[in-house]
Symmetry: D2
Subunit: 304 residues, 4 copies
């Protein structure tokens, strides 16, 4: 059975069962999305592409962007990056301050909010025009060049972002933020507001399945070893307090966002992206998790 057949059969199976998730409520604008959207797209390193459902509709990628910003920061700083952010699963919720207090302001990993704020701070210090340069980087990863920030989403998140303001100032109080908290937060909200469709996300992430090289122009974004390490981090830390569950049930490195998107990477093979906005209790797309579990079971292709 080939990918096209498997994806179709799993897609319709999951579409038919009740969607028990609920829309993200903490960012008002995210509640305005059509809750029934459901799209899937796969890109393989030998250039096979296939999408189904709403795979061409843009959605807010939210925390999925944290992998892209980490990749850019890693390419700029190399291993020095890990002096400022750890590589261990957190064992707590995505916006927890508890561990930061115990560990003196060094976030456990780059995918919890605290870690993504430190990575944002690093990019601000290392890019000439942070927002523009970051957007150029995203657009350079695939053939598509229409990926944009959403002002509407960034503003909506900013208006309710007291917890992130708290996190950023808390880390600053330990000396692990160099720039003004308000600048770091502005960059961070824009980062999370990126709007992409399933096809774009799978194309942008393909360099992580391809030992660090883009498909579009064969450019080495990260070294082979760095690329593997990003995948390892997604495996152990990509789903907040459901990371173990995702490794256990899906068996691929991946990253989710509260916009309902999930990207999974099968090294040396493919990237697959699912989008469905309603979230389970841990904050990950309900249908996305179900789809990927069935998909790796049926394809018998997990890394384990």
């Amino acid at each position: 059975m080939n990918f096209e057949e498997i994806i179709q059969s799993v897609y319709y199976k999951i579409k038919a069962i009740e969607d028990r998730g609920s829309l993200a409520s903490y960012i008002p604008e995210l509640e305005k999305v059509d809750p029934d959207c459901f799209g899937v797209h796969i890109s393989t390193i030998d250039n096979f592409n296939f999408g189904i459902g709403n795979y061409n509709d843009k959605f807010s990628i939210q925390s999925i962007a944290k992998v892209i910003s980490l990749s850019l920061a890693y390419s700029k700083l190399g291993e020095k990056l890990w002096d400022r952010v750890g590589v261990e699963p957190s064992g707590t919720a995505f916006n927890s301050l508890v561990q930061l207090e115990v560990e003196n302001g060094k976030p456990r990993n780059p995918f919890i909010n605290a870690g993504a704020l430190v990575v944002s701070d690093i990019l601000i210090s290392n890019l000439n025009s942070p927002k523009e340069d970051f957007l150029s980087f995203v657009n350079s990863l695939s053939s598509n060049s229409e990926i944009c920030y959403s002002n509407r989403i960034a503003t909506s998140e900013k208006n309710v972002g007291f917890r992130n303001v708290a996190l950023c100032n808390f880390i600053k109080s330990f000396g692990n933020i160099e720039n003004e908290p308000s600048d770091v937060l502005d960059f961070y909200y824009n980062l999370c507001s990126l709007e992409m469709n399933c096809k774009e996300v799978s194309e942008v992430f393909i360099f992580l399945a391809n030992d660090g090289r883009t498909l579009v122009d064969n450019k080495q974004i990260l070294s082979k070893s760095q690329s593997k390490r990003i995948n390892a981090l997604m495996q152990t830390c990509g789903f907040y307090d459901e990371s173990g569950e995702f490794a256990f049930k899906v068996g691929l490195p991946g990253k989710s966002g509260v916009g309902g998107g999930i990207v999974a990477v099968h090294p040396k093979q493919y990237t697959i992206v699912v989008w469905s906005p309603k979230l389970n209790k841990k904050g990950n797309s309900y249908r996305g998790m179900r789809f990927l579990e069935e998909f790796t079971t049926k394809s018998e292709l997990s890394i384990f």
Copy 2:
């Protein structure tokens, strides 16, 4: 370059650098081992075997045994097992009681001590002669039938095991231990006292590289899906608070023990075992970690 060459070259390189670890001190008997021992053994699913250094010397496998007991319990209970123990990384030290208190006695995963105690409790409830039956199981996994418990080690650990007594009674107070704590602890100390050499460990674990089937008699110990899940758990939780680091640097599922052993599994390919008794600050073999990092870098064979 083949496995033999890679292993030899990495072995001598690591042997030449200073061993900065120190012997486990909390179990008196473990301090009596020769600190300079250093052995490696690989077993592939197509029956290639190669060892170097002290790969034929028995050592105390300690927590490595937790993967074997989990496999047996999983084969007995199936998915019901996960009602009593979780699948998430802990984010804290191996013998922490904090998370248990917050999560009402359900250990975060089967590889922290709390989780291994619950798995031991399950085996006691499900085996006729727990200690004998478990030993038979271990011996049935490979062609070797001389694997034994060490009374000396079990007694040594029992004599200083106040923290484990605390853990077991604490979980019992939440109702997640069915048997007498003293019986559970006795079984647990025996389990951890198993003495094996690198060759035996790599042979015993080969079923996890082989989709759940033993090589010796092609017996299906776990289903393919269950076998993958054990590997995923080792990836996210196998090295206590250094699990992220191991995934990051080595990129294979694995499990360590305070006796200085580490086993790593490359699904569909091989198992590799390193033993060197001196431990780094997180309690994992110093040379073992270094060896495996070099080995996967050189072989370019990680799962990511």
Copy 3:
């Protein structure tokens, strides 16, 4: 208005309102008590005594005994005692292990279970016949000599005491218990099983209102300064996570037990004891708390 009138008027007022508490459920024997019992007794340092309701019925004093054991240990060790147990409120539940882990086995104060276990350990090391000698000490504090342990209660608590076994072994693992955990626990369960009536408790505690001297034979049990310090400790730590509330609403040093007893001490004036078995959510006698709040409001006699 004198004490007799105030106590009578408050007693009947509280008796008339609904008792919203519920019986302690974690020790089976404690559930067998008549839930409607309600007794009060006051003893002043000028030898006025007055009781009402079930003030002559014996009840299980439980944690109230921790003040007596602390007093005896303090008289034996002096200020060295505080090397092994702290004097700060815990901010957590009475049987929490979390803080112990963070603070390396030194309990925050002598009134949480952990602290009382360390005090028990100290007494075992410093008394010839710990159980007998402790009972003699209790009986020597008042004219009454019929105070006894309850085997029935001690055994009942022991049978469900997994959490206390956990606590004691946990502290032992940090080196802050000298004796065998089973011996310490046996002493501790007996201590908590003491049966006394309101009159006896108020007479036993009167030395703490009298600068450390008993009324019955004017014996100096503790120095004036030590006696004040015990009162200060009851004020800040006597009611677990409701200590602030008790200081706030009642305004006297005091100690409660899950048997439904509460003793309060007004330094240089009196001791007052209330017993009513049904407990509020924080584990303190519902009517006892209500009675004492009204009593100090009406008498206008708090220390603040």
Copy 4:
């Protein structure tokens, strides 16, 4: 021996011993104070006043102001106040975020920073001109009318106040701050910047020794019961994680500030204020703690 003699003898004794404290370093301006200053002042409810040393020199009262703001908020809201802030000791450092996370944004008590921020928020919502009105309130409590904010100190604290920004936004994220965080913080920094001398502090606080009535014009600021409750709160929570120690060694309700001031209240008798800028490890004036311990020992006047 009368107060004058006791204070003189204790003052010279403490002055003669080595001051082992060190200046508060986290607010730059506070480091500029003369570290050798040492003043004491007592005010009794029968109008006896006595000062020694630098009792007439202004210092930054810092957290001592939290008692005054709490008193004003309590007089405005009555018991409703406790819906938004608790009355229990925290068991953690003064600026901890951990407990807030566990308890959903309701600070444990009004004297940790989190609680004082909520009280500031309440005052902003309930005063017409918050800063002016609060200053008038302070000046109305004593005959002195020259108490002022220090712009210099408020600005200095604001410039390094990332932790407080974090705290305030964190509480806002739970919905327990009504106003803009920047307004709440501005009010809070001004509050803490009040400059007073020992004499002024003892006069301002005398209403808490006098059942809620000022001495200067016999005005009832708080009811008798409310005044007692503030004293009880100072007793259990006034010294952060050294509250138990202060109750234990000094035996009076009190409040300290990182400017090196400590006020203690003996209900129905007096207030006493010590100022010496060098702090012990828990952040309380080294000499202040030593002085008060000796003072209550010598005067034999503690509440216990």
